[in-house]
């Protein structure tokens, strides 16, 4: 089963340059922290805050490509975790024109999936207003005690302004 998540906050890991994207489920019972790079963290932050940029950033470009080609994105799913690396997929809906010999012009829809890093998937999902899901399996896998204790030690000031 896929569980919908929302982006709760992007925080800086005080120990490294990395950023941590904190995802939570609707009941706020499940918490999924994903480590991402600085650029990806910023891309997610801009979308969260709705900061307009003068020039399109890389994820804006990807959104523009999909918009121009009239390709819809349905959702993104964080579907796997292996050795600390999370795997996500973009779920796209492509309209394909029917072969010309058919009488009435119509289109067929095909769902396509593209492998992505969760950071890119989340940055894009926020820009396109589509839901972010995680599989139950991934949530079970991530439950490492080390991580929970690390998070418990975090102080409020370690968190960015998005933390409610």
């Amino acid at each position: 089963m896929n569980i919908p998540l929302k982006v709760h906050a992007v925080v800086s890991d005080p120990n490294t340059e990395a950023q941590i994207v904190i995802l939570k489920d609707e009941q706020e019972l499940e918490l999924l922290p994903i480590w991402v790079g600085l650029a990806e963290g910023n891309a997610i932050r801009f979308a969260l805050e709705g900061i307009g940029v003068a020039r399109p950033l890389t994820h804006d470009l990807l959104r523009d490509v999909l918009d121009h080609l009239n390709v819809q994105m349905e959702k993104v799913i964080i579907h796997d975790m292996n050795e600390g690396t999370y795997y996500a997929s973009l779920h796209l809906i492509q309209n394909r024109p029917e072969p010309k010999e058919k009488a009435a012009p119509s289109e067929t829809e095909e769902e396509l999936t593209v492998d992505a890093r969760p950071s890119d998937a989340i940055a894009l999902a926020l820009r396109m207003g589509v839901p972010i899901y995680v599989t139950e399996e991934v949530l079970q896998k991530k439950g490492s005690e080390n991580l929970d204790s690390w998070l418990e030690k975090l102080k409020p000031k370690d968190f960015g302004p998005y933390d409610a």
Binding site: R55, D64, H68, V114, D120
Partner: protein, 147 residues
């Protein structure tokens, strides 16, 4: 034009991508941020990353949709900002998308698409100040891509 070099600009804490024409007569330096410079250098060196980087993702999305990058064109220069267009073909139609040159170049290198610069941009950028700045650069200021 081709990407002929990349170097670090310590004064602006940014990277400079050097585009050069076929006859080596026209040179266009474009200042880009660190993540974009990184995306371009990975493509230049042909480095394979275990997970797709953001520009790889754009390329993969386009491959999955059967869309192609025809070319990218650096079209304008305004207030020190370069503008470019990415030309795509998809389902027998052509599409033009506004983009930053850094993203367009990073994508073009991955898609083996040609990079063009409009003549007006070449004329505009050839300010004396810039030329002098470039002339003062020493070989060791250049990165390893410079030939």
């Amino acid at each position: 034009m081709k990407v002929r070099g990349m170097m670090f600009d310590p004064y602006n804490n940014a990277y400079i991508i050097i585009l050069r024409g076929e006859e080596d007569t026209d040179v266009l330096p474009i200042w880009v941020g660190r993540p974009e410079a990184n995306a371009i250098s990975l493509a230049l060196e042909g480095i394979f990353t275990q997970r797709p980087m953001t520009h790889d993702l754009i390329k993969n999305v386009m491959d999955t949709l059967d869309a192609k990058v025809i070319s990218i064109v650096v079209t304008d220069l305004k207030d020190n900002t370069y503008f470019s267009k990415t030309h795509l073909s998809y389902q027998d139609s052509e599409f033009t998308i506004d983009s930053r040159p850094s993203d367009a170049i990073a994508l073009a290198l991955r898609a083996d698409a040609p990079i063009f610069v409009s003549e007006s941009v070449i004329k505009k950028q050839s300010s004396e100040e810039l030329d002098r700045w470039l002339e003062n650069l020493r070989p060791e200021d250049f990165g390893k891509y410079d030939t």
